[in-house]
Symmetry: C2
Subunit: 308 residues, 2 copies
């Protein structure tokens, strides 16, 4: 799957991923009204609105981008109907030949991580048959529990030809509270990064590993160091746009080959129609606004990479 991701990035010339993290407040009123008319102001109504909203964005951008990253929490908050919209979104994106990175940040003791891995990336056995519960292509994983919490995910990826992005340095303001603490003269995130590089070397796709890392765009200097510690690791970079990261901050996350990183933007793309810059299309053409924002993001990153 990492090779497919790289191929698609080369084809689109877009090392970016659109974060499908819908909030009801992002959804144009006509979509909300239609969903509430059909299902009432219920969890089902919210789920329908989210799904229709996602569909509009995917339809408007799928030829420009290699991948999407739905954040499962934004669906899980609406209970079972929300998770059904998550699954529907995954299936639709895969139909459109987009790679789906499930931003699930799971991680637990071995046997429990194995269940998550099977449910999200693999197949679960039921009697003589087997089923894919959610079937994302990649998943994000939390490393706090150590190797035996991560290995079951890697095992399933190996079997199913899928991939991971393991949290190394997250984009949020207080990520440093534990991640930056110094251990034998180096911050924790570097030790985690080293571990990710080690897991990765044992699990290579082609020139990159299918065990990737998450490093926030909001910490470019740390990204520079981590790039060196994990040379064959693909880095998923959240925090671009709404969280404050800019194209120029991103260059150090990439290798000399122009690869090695994929940058996520969520709000900046999916709620683009709310920005003055893209507002002219009007709320009903929110997909068009997202498309313009995707093009601008690709150009911003391309410009930053070619002028380094």
């Amino acid at each position: 799957m990492i090779n497919k991701l790289i191929d698609k990035i080369k084809k689109t010339n877009a090392p970016i991923v659109v974060g499908l993290d819908p909030m009801l407040s992002y959804i144009p009123s006509q979509i909300l009204e239609r969903a509430f008319k059909e299902y009432g102001e219920t969890l089902e109504g919210a789920a329908e609105a989210i799904w229709q909203f996602n569909k509009g964005i995917v339809d408007a951008t799928c030829d420009l981008i290699p991948a999407v990253k739905p954040q499962i929490a934004m669906y899980e908050q609406f209970g079972i109907p929300g998770l059904m919209a998550y699954k529907k979104t995954i299936d639709y994106c895969k139909e459109k030949d987009l790679i789906v990175i499930g931003d699930i940040k799971r991680g637990d003791i071995g046997s429990t991580s194995a269940a998550y891995a099977v449910g999200h990336l693999g197949h679960v056995q039921v009697g003589s048959r087997s089923y894919a519960g959610f079937d994302e292509d990649f998943a994000t994983v939390n490393p706090y529990l150590g190797s035996d919490g991560v290995k079951p995910f890697i095992d399933v990826c190996k079997e199913e030809k899928k991939g991971l992005f393991i949290l190394v340095k997250t984009s949020n303001p207080s990520s440093g509270e534990f991640q930056d603490r110094m251990i034998d003269g180096r911050p924790l995130y570097e030790w985690v990064g080293e571990k990710v590089a080690q897991w990765g070397e044992e699990h290579m796709g082609g020139s990159y590993s299918y065990v990737g890392a998450v490093v926030g765009a909001t910490y470019p200097e740390m990204g520079k160091v981590l790039r060196k510690i994990m040379p064959k690791t693909f880095i998923l970079v959240p925090g671009y746009g709404a969280q404050g990261g800019k194209g120029a901050d991103l260059v150090h996350f990439f290798n000399e080959d122009g690869l090695g990183a994929i940058v996520n933007s969520s709000r900046g793309i999916i709620a683009a129609y709310k920005q003055e810059k893209y507002a002219s299309a009007g709320e009903e053409n929110y997909g068009e606004a997202s498309r313009m924002a995707v093009k601008d993001m690709i150009e911003d990153i391309d410009h930053a990479l070619s002028s380094r």
Copy 2:
């Protein structure tokens, strides 16, 4: 909710929680067959079997115990139908007046943690109405992202009178890989424990905080230290039984008042009928075997606590 938990522990004299972590291999054949007959060897069939299995255990043990802890991964692996069985299990346990600790180990950047908190412990707004998606009483939380990943959970708990258990030192063999690394002369888990104690002091129920901690039974010496670092923190202690923890290992997790800890056993209780000791009841009376295992566990802990 922490006060209700303490009241129930006192009433049952059982500082224990039954981990509802069903695997299909634990489920007696007649339950599996009945479910597969009705739904086929499908995700729905697996979910039905899990639900019926859980119901049998809850019915057989609910008068003896204060709380249950369903591990969401064991349901999530069966996709949407699995999560419907998770929700059904939560609702049924609450009907039986059991406290439900959702072992979800979520944690993300602020806005995303807020969505998880709302979905699992709070109410999500849909137009003019609000809904509880999963509605557990407590949830487990991963602290790797720092304060702004944890605070949204605390905020929802404050509003909804619910509670948390934050991972400090987990029970798995490789938990030390990052958690035990020394920072300024003390292991990371102590720093996390200190933070949990600090969050807790600002969010007290009565004599204990509704911001609790997770510390594995498999590391009793560390439990001893953490007990002192977090005097007002309730500790959820996994790893008893199948993972290797024994009653005698547990005494240091408790305070002098006999409170402050709640010990989880999953496989040791729910699959008790598979142990030689409880096999006499027969597979079809698996609930009876679980009841005997619960009684033995209560006695083991009671004995350990009274002989300290």
